[in-house]
């Protein structure tokens, strides 16, 4: 019993190329994700579009989070506690679809990524466990 939660969480770190949105990430990314939520209001989207840097000043973000937002570096944003459904408010505001935004995290071009999806998607083989290499 004492280690159940620890074991539960530890297994998440064994998945290749994946950040599971644990409460630890939720704490780290609290303001980042709350910033993203603000873009659900049209008036905030306007302000954000007009001057991104200035809009960011209103939020208690780390410099790293601010830079990653301005650079639309979604992998980095995930590392800094962002959650994809929150970050979606940023790329939706940019007019990007989920496929377009998601592809930027894979090191593939949008076209390559779309081709992979049309061919049946990424195979799970070798992508299940770092430790077990399966």
């Amino acid at each position: 019993m004492p280690d159940r939660l620890k074991d539960y969480l530890a297994a998440f770190d064994d998945i290749p190329g994946t950040r599971v949105y644990t409460t630890e990430r939720a704490r780290q990314g609290y303001w980042l994700n709350q910033f993203c939520m603000s873009l659900m209001k049209p008036e905030n989207r306007e302000r954000w579009r007009a001057d991104e840097r200035r809009y960011l000043e209103d939020w208690q973000l780390t410099d790293a989070q601010k830079e990653a937002l301005l650079a639309r570096d979604y992998n980095r944003l995930l590392d800094l506690g962002g959650n994809i459904y929150y970050l979606a408010k940023v790329f939706s505001t940019d007019g990007l679809s989920f496929v377009q935004a998601v592809s930027t995290m894979t090191g593939m071009s949008v076209e390559e990524y779309q081709k992979m999806m049309l061919a049946g998607g990424r195979s799970p083989d070798g992508q299940r466990s770092v430790k077990e290499g399966r």
Binding site: M40, A88, S97, M117
Partner: protein, 282 residues
């Protein structure tokens, strides 16, 4: 007496909403996606099948709830719900009307059954709820059914276990069975199947795993309720966890539930589209 007559499972991919809202169903990309629902669209409008109420199990994708407020199980008891603005304006779909009487009845019954529900009286509903309605009912001026939204946290971990979800489904079935009004009720489990929307592994699709899950919804549902979170994550991508919501639907049906229709298509956006219709054989 109210009866659960059928269960329906479907992915709730935003792109399906785009295809319908923008009338792009004839494009090559979208044709097989919308075709997955052809059988269901015809079936559900038959008078003997048409539900009065749909209990719609879905998850909020950072729309109604933010990081300040993360309910594990939330049931919507307001009279109606507006489609959410998820960053590109509200979806052009009708207001969702609730069967508030039944929703409150279920909420009360679940709490008496030791489910620690959160009751919600005001919220917008996002693509998780509205896309399944569009896929099945198209573009009506009003939704032809009342909808009880039941939102599950599948975003911040730990999310509820598959088994807890199944037990919630069983309790929902008891609650519906004790509602005096004569109602044809369906329960829909949404989300899934394989998809990962983040990181280097994005785009993962596990057709084999998904197919076995679809099979076992009728062949061996008891296996499904025991699947641990880590298996969903490893095998179906980080967002495949949404399939625990299918288990709420499945738990609400009888052991002998029968498959009426199945569809599976890759890709729809980043996702493997899965769709099932189960008859509740009593």
């Amino acid at each position: 007496m109210a009866r659960i007559t059928a269960g329906l499972a479907t992915s709730h991919i935003p792109l399906i909403g785009v295809a319908i809202d923008q009338n792009r169903g004839e494009e090559d990309y979208f044709k097989p996606i919308l075709a997955a629902y052809d059988w269901t669209r015809r079936w559900i409008i038959q008078p003997e099948n048409k539900p009065d109420v749909v209990i719609l199990i879905y998850n909020d994708h950072a729309s109604a709830f933010d990081m300040n407020f993360i309910p594990t199980f939330a049931i919507g008891c307001a009279d109606s719900f507006e489609p959410a603005d998820e960053g590109w304006g509200r979806r052009p779909v009708p207001t969702v009307k609730n069967h508030a009487e039944l929703a409150w009845h279920i909420a009360q019954s679940l709490i008496l059954d030791d489910f620690d529900m959160t009751i919600i009286n005001k919220m917008d509903v996002d693509h998780g709820l509205t896309v399944p309605l569009s896929a099945v009912f198209g573009q009506p001026k009003e939704w032809p059914v009342k909808v009880i939204p039941l939102a599950v946290n599948v975003v911040t971990y730990p999310v509820p276990s598959g088994n807890r979800c199944w037990l919630l489904g069983e309790a929902i079935a008891r609650a519906v069975a004790s509602f005096p009004e004569n109602l044809n009720v369906q329960i829909w489990g949404t989300g899934g199947m394989s998809h990962q929307l983040q990181g280097a592994r994005a785009g993962l699709i596990n057709k084999e795993w998904d197919q076995r899950f679809l099979d076992d919804m009728t062949r061996d549902p008891q296996r499904l309720r025991a699947i641990p979170h880590i298996e969903y994550l490893r095998e179906t991508g980080s967002e495949g966890i949404e399939m625990v919501m299918w288990l709420i639907m499945r738990g609400a049906l009888s052991t002998q539930a029968r498959e009426l229709h199945r569809a599976y298509h890759v890709p729809a956006s980043n996702t493997a589209l899965g769709h099932l219709v189960l008859e509740n054989v009593e």
